[in-house]
Amino acid sequence: MLFIVPSVATKMIKDTETDLNECCGFLFGHQNREHRTITKSLAVINSKTSDRRTGYEITSEDFIDAELMAENENLDFLGIYHTHPNHSAIPSDYDQQMALPCFSYIIISVMNEKFNSMRSWQLDSQFNFKEEKIDFMLATN
């Protein structure tokens, strides 16, 4: 189960729904054996040099900053979010090919510049994406 603090989900949606390009960012929070809670997101620039409407890249420098920020703020670095403009929130083959173990991958579907849906995925032990249920309520612990 992936819990997302509602204000964090709202910010991700607000930041991304009017952008025709794929938007991307990092996810932070806390985790235990049963679930994860996203308490912070950090939008970063899509550094892809070709068509950013159908893909994203994040620089190594932004990744380093995210790792160090998580360490400094005593947060767990939990994953990555990105948008699929005018497509569903289902990962593409390329999303799966580039995915890293243990990270949660939130995909936000934006249709005609309006939020459509948000789903989260994580690699299983066979390195295939498996959906993880999202709940927009605070975890109790």
């Binding site: 159908t54 190594s60 360490e71 767990d76 593409s92 083959d93 390329y94 580039m98």
Partner: protein, 96 residues
Amino acid sequence: MATIIIPTPLRRFTNNVARMNVGAGNVSDAVLELTSSFPELKKHLIDTNGKIAPFINIFVDNSDIRSLDREQTQVKENAVIFIIPAIAGGITSPKK
């Protein structure tokens, strides 16, 4: 000693160790020392030719080793080596 920082998503292969001290030398030596300590990590960092995998970036003291001497880049005492996985995705694959 130099310090090598393992990225969060690969720490499941290092028993959750985030940082490891390695001897000075070059990047290749440092990665070998790391993967000798954590053998499960090797397939995620090294390709079938024994080189750093193309989807792995390595920075030494904030400089990408691709702009230096790649695996032969010198690692000084107190250097910080950052392993960074390529982060990308999207609706379609980039054209080759």
